[in-house]
Symmetry: C2
Subunit: 539 residues, 2 copies
C-alpha cells in the first residue's frame, strides 16, 4: 500500500524559490572582491540565478554538466550555484588553496565545461588554461568596468548574464547530481564527492533543527567558511531556506576585516575553522573590541581548542557550536549543543562536553567499531573506527560507482573516536595515525595535545614507529620554543602523570620544523617517511 501524498521532488532551487517568495526583501551583504560592500536581496538573487540558468541554456550547457567555481563567498558565487542547479547542471567548487597541478587534475577529472572565476584567481587560471581541456567557457565574476586585460577568452559575468530572468527551472529527479566537491586526500588523487538535490535538501533540513545550527529568519549569518570548503557546511542552503540574512566576507578573512563585518553588519551567527577565530581573537585582544551582536560561532574543520571555547563563551559571551563533519557527509556529522541533562554544567565539566565534537542530527547514524566491524560500547572512552550512514553521506566517488561502504552500509570516516551515553562523539585520532601498540590503540592526537600543553613546545607531532615486541610505539617529534626548550626527560616527566603508562612516548626527537599539507595539517606521511628507520631506545 502506497501513501497518497504528492510527488514533490526535493530540489535545491526550490529553496531559493521559497526564499524569494517568503523572505524576498531579506538582505545579502557581500564584501565584493572589487572592494566595496555590496547589498542585494534573496529576491534579486533569485532573479539573477534564473538569468544565469537562462544563459547556460543559451550556451548549450546541458543537463548534468559541471560548472566549476573558483571563487570567494559573494552574492555572485551564490547566484552561480543556484543558476547551475536550476539549469539542471552541477556546481563544482574548486579549492584555490590546492596545488595548481591538483586543480588542473580535478577540473579534468570532473570534465568541467564552464569555469566561473573571481578576479583573485584569474592569474592562476591564466597559467593553467592550457591544461584545462574540458573547459569551454570562462566567466569572470565581475563587471565590464573591473575586467582586467587577460589573454584568456573570458567574459565578465555581468555582461555574460542573460538579459532577463524569463526561465523556468529545469525539472530534474531529486537524485540527480547537484554539486561536486573533491576531497584533498593526503595520499593518492583527490576524489570527487557528488551531492544530489535530495541529499542537499535533507541535509539542510536536518542540520538546521534547533539543537543543531538552528538558524532563524531573524539571524544574520556570516559564513566565513568558504563555499569551496566541504559544501560550505550547508549554509548556502540553510540561510535561504529559513530566510536568514547573509553576510559574505569575500576575499578578506583577516581578523580586522572579519571583525568589521561582524560589527557593522550585526552578525548574529558565524562559522569557520579555528585558524580564522584565532586571528579574530588576536585582533580583538589587540584592539579591545567586543562582540555585542554575535550570539553563536560554529567552529569546525579541525578540533576546536578548549581555550578557544572558553574565551568565546566567558570573555565575549558568544556560544560555541563545536562541529565535526567531512566533505563526504555534505558535511555535517555532529554539532555540540548541550542537551537538557548537561545544560547546567559549569566550568571544566562544561568544557569537557564542549570539547567533544557533539551529537548527530536525525538522518546521521553514527557508531564506532573495532577493526572487525563489531560495534563498540557508547561509554565515552572506548574508541574505534568512526562510521556513518545517512541520506547525505557518500556511497561512492565520481568516476567509480563501486560503493565504499561496509557490509552494513556504513561509510568509514577515517577518524578514530569514542561516543558517550548521551551520544556525544569525540574524535581522538585519524585511523591512519593511531598507534597500534600490542593490539591496543594509542591516540596520536591526545599525545600531541598533551605535549603542546608544555610551555617549551611550539609544535608537536606523534607517530608510530616500528617496535620488535609491540609492533608500534609512539615517537614524539617536537619543535621547541627558542627560549625554555625542554629536554627529552622534562617533557616525558611532564606527560607521565597525565596518561596511562603504556601511552608515554618511547622517545622524543627535536626538529626545527614539522612539515604541513597545503591546507595546514601536519603531514604525517612525510614524518613517517622521515622516521621510517628510526630505532627506539629498546625497539
Amino acid at each position: 500500500m502506497r501513501g497518497l501524498m504528492q510527488d514533490w521532488p526535493l530540489l535545491c532551487h526550490k529553496i531559493l524559490d521559497h526564499a524569494a517568495l517568503h523572505h524576498g526583501g531579506r538582505e545579502v551583504v557581500s564584501r565584493s572582491v572589487e572592494g566595496p560592500i555590496h547589498r542585494t536581496t534573496y529576491s534579486a538573487i533569485h532573479s539573477r540565478a534564473r538569468r544565469v540558468a537562462k544563459k547556460l541554456h543559451a550556451n548549450n550547457f546541458g543537463i548534468g554538466q559541471r560548472g566549476a567555481t573558483l571563487a570567494w563567498n559573494t552574492w555572485r558565487h551564490m547566484e552561480v550555484w543556484y543558476g547551475l542547479m536550476g539549469a539542471g547542471g552541477v556546481y563544482h567548487t574548486l579549492n584555490p588553496r590546492l596545488f595548481p597541478e591538483q586543480l588542473a587534475w580535478i577540473v579534468n577529472d570532473a570534465a568541467d565545461r564552464m569555469l566561473f572565476v573571481d578576479l583573485t584567481f584569474l592569474p592562476l587560471v591564466e597559467k593553467l588554461r592550457d591544461q584545462l581541456k574540458s573547459v569551454q567557457r570562462i566567466v569572470v565574476l565581475t563587471d565590464a568596468a573591473h575586467m582586467p586585460d587577460t589573454p584568456l577568452d573570458a567574459e565578465p559575468y555581468e555582461e555574460w548574464l542573460a538579459a532577463d530572468d524569463d526561465f523556468a527551472w529545469c525539472a530534474v529527479d531529486e537524485n540527480a547530481a547537484a554539486g561536486m566537491c573533491y576531497t584533498s586526500g593526503t595520499t593518492g588523487n583527490p576524489k570527487g564527492v557528488v551531492y544530489s538535490h535530495r541529499s542537499n535538501v535533507l541535509h539542510a533540513l536536518a542540520g538546521n533543527m534547533p539543537d543543531m545550527l538552528g538558524l532563524a529568519s531573524r539571524d544574520r549569518l556570516m559564513p566565513v567558511v568558504p563555499m569551496f570548503h566541504a559544501n560550505c557546511w550547508a549554509l548556502a542552503y540553510v540561510a535561504p531556506l529559513v530566510g536568514a540574512s547573509l553576510v559574505m566576507p569575500g576575499s578578506k578573512l583577516d581578523g580586522a576585516s572579519i571583525y568589521e563585518l561582524l560589527d557593522q553588519e550585526q552578525v548574529t551567527i558565524t562559522a569557520a575553522v579555528p585558524t580564522i577565530w584565532m586571528m579574530l581573537l588576536q585582533h580583538l585582544q589587540e584592539t579591545g573590541h567586543e562582540l555585542p551582536h554575535l550570539e553563536r560561532v560554529v567552529i569546525g574543520g579541525a578540533a576546536c581548542p578548549r581555550s578557544m571555547i572558553e574565551i568565546f563563551e566567558s570573555r565575549y559571551d558568544v556560544s560555541v557550536l563545536h562541529a565535526w563533519g567531512m566533505t563526504e557527509m555534505s558535511p555535517i556529522g555532529t554539532i555540540c549543543t548541550l542537551k537538557p541533562e548537561l545544560v547546567d554544567l559549569m566550568g571544566d565539566a562544561r568544557l569537557d562536553v564542549q570539547e567533544k565534537q557533539g551529537h548527530a542530527p536525525f538522518t546521521v547514524e553514527m557508531r564506532v567499531t573495532d577493526d572487525d566491524g563489531n560495534e563498540l560500547p557508547r561509554d565515552g572512552k572506548t574508541f574505534g573506527r568512526l562510521k556513518v550512514r545517512g541520506p547525505a553521506i557518500a556511497r561512492a566517488y565520481f568516476g567509480n560507482e563501486a560503493e565504499v561502504l561496509d557490509e552494513d552500509g556504513y561509510f568509514d570516516t577515517g577518524d578514530v573516536a569514542h561516543i558517550d551515553a548521551h551520544g556525544y562523539m569525540r574524535v581522538t585520532d585519524r585511523s591512519k595515525d593511531v598507534i597500534k601498540s600490542g593490539g591496543e590503540w594509542i591516540s596520536s592526537i591526545e599525545l600531541e595535545n598533551l605535549a603542546m600543553g608544555h610551555p617549551g613546545v611550539a609544535e608537536a607531532a606523534v607517530i608510530g614507529v616500528h617496535h620488535m615486541k609491540w609492533d608500534e610505539r609512539p615517537l614524539l617529534i617536537v619543535v621547541p620554543k627558542s627560549e625554555d626548550a625542554p629536554t627529552r626527560e622534562t617533557l616525558l616527566d611532564y606527560m607521565r602523570p597525565q596518561v596511562a603508562k603504556w601511552w608515554v612516548p618511547d622517545d622524543v626527537v627535536f626538529v626545527d620544523e614539522i612539515p604541513h599539507t597545503a591546507t595546514g595539517k601536519i603531514q604525517k606521511t612525510a614524518l613517517r617517511e622521515m622516521f621510517r628507520d628510526y630505532r627506539l631506545p629498546d625497539g
Copy 2:
C-alpha cells in the same frame, strides 16, 4: 548524472531509533486513562514499540495492513503508532467524536484489521462490534488488572505485547503508507488521507524549523491536540526527532486538568484548538493561577480569536503560534511567527499580524487564485481560493487513486484567503460559504466575527441567499443574548461603519439556536437548507 549519496529511505520508525539512541532517557509523562500519572522514556517506548511490531507479526498482521486506534494521547498510543509502522503496517486514527455510524463506515472503508482501544471507548466498540467486519483482533490499551468485563473477544495490551523486543523493523519503501486519517466532511462520506513514511518525515523536519514549531531537546511539549486529530499536528514525530520531553494529557482535557500538567510537569510548549484554551483561560481567571513555565502555545484547528492572543501574550507572557493546516496537509500549512521586519511591532499592529494564520514552511507552496485558476496578487487583501502543493499534501484519497489536484498540481484547500507581501496568509472563509454577490466575493466569516463583536449577540452565522439581481446576498442569522437583544436595525447600524457598503447583510434573522456539526463547527449546509426559500427584502 546521478548523485552518489547513500540510499537511506525516510522512514518514520527511524525517528524513534534516533530518539532512543540520542535522547533515550528523556521523559514521556502521561496522565493514564486509568488515572495515575505514568512516566517512561523514549528508550522504553522504543523497546515496547518493537514488542508491538513483533506481536503484530506473530498475529500475521501483514505489510500495508491497517491497525486502527481509538485512543487518547498516552505513551501506549505512541507505542502502537510506531509499532504498526515498524511492522510495515499503517496506523489509522479514529476520531471518537464522530457519530458511531460514521466510525463504523470508516473502519470498514479502511478495512482495519486490528483495533487498539482505550478503556473510555470500549462501550462504543461493544455497541459497534457487529458492524466492524474487517476487524480481526481488539486490544484494549490497559493491563490485566484494569481489564473490564466485556462481551468482546479482546485482550489487554500489556498481556498482548510480545515478551521481548527482539525485532528488526521491516524495510519498507519511503513512499509506503504509514498512517491514515479520515476527514469528516460536512457533506458526503468521510475521505481517507494516506500519509507515507516520506511525507511524515519531511513534514516533521520542515515543520520544525526555528521559525515554525522550533521544538528543541530542552522543551517539554504537551500535545493536547489528540493524536486522532489531523495527524496530531506532527507532534508525535517532531518531539522524538529532537528529543523533546512529552507530556500526554490522556482523557482529561478540562481547564483544571490541563493546568495541573502544565504546572507540575513544567511544560514549555503546548498545542490545541481554541476551545481548549478558552477552558484553560477561564480556569486561570477563576483560580488566579499563573503560567510561569509555559513559553509558547500553538493554536490551530480554528481561527484563534484576537483577544485570546492578547491575553496569552500580555497577561500570561506566553507567545502564541497561530497555525493553520488540514488533515490533507499532514497537517501544517502555516504558522504565525514574526519575521524580522515585523518583530518589533506592538499593540494592535502586532495583533493585526498575529491574527493571520501565518506563513508557510519550506515544502509548502501556497497561492490564492480566482475561480479560473489565475494567481491573485499577494497584497494582503485580494482573496481567492487557497491552494497548496508539497510533499506532505494529499494528491488523492483512499480507495480512489484519481488525483484531486488542479492542472498545476495544486490541492484546493476549500478555504478562501489572502496572502500579504511578507507571505502571511489569512483565511477569510470556506469557499463553499463565501457569498458571491455580483461576481465579487463577500467573506461570511468576517461578517460573523463583526456581528459577534456586538454585545447583544451570543452567536452569529452568515450565509448567502438567492438574489434576483446579485445572484447571492448575505443573510445574518443571530442568536441574541437574553438581555440586551439587538434589533435588526441596531445590528446593521453597528456593522455599517466597519465594512464596505455592499458587504452589509441584506437582512437579519433571529433564532434560538444555530445548528453545529459533531466537531462543533457551524453547520452551514443545514442553515442554507433552512433558509433556501428565504426572500430578502428587495431580492
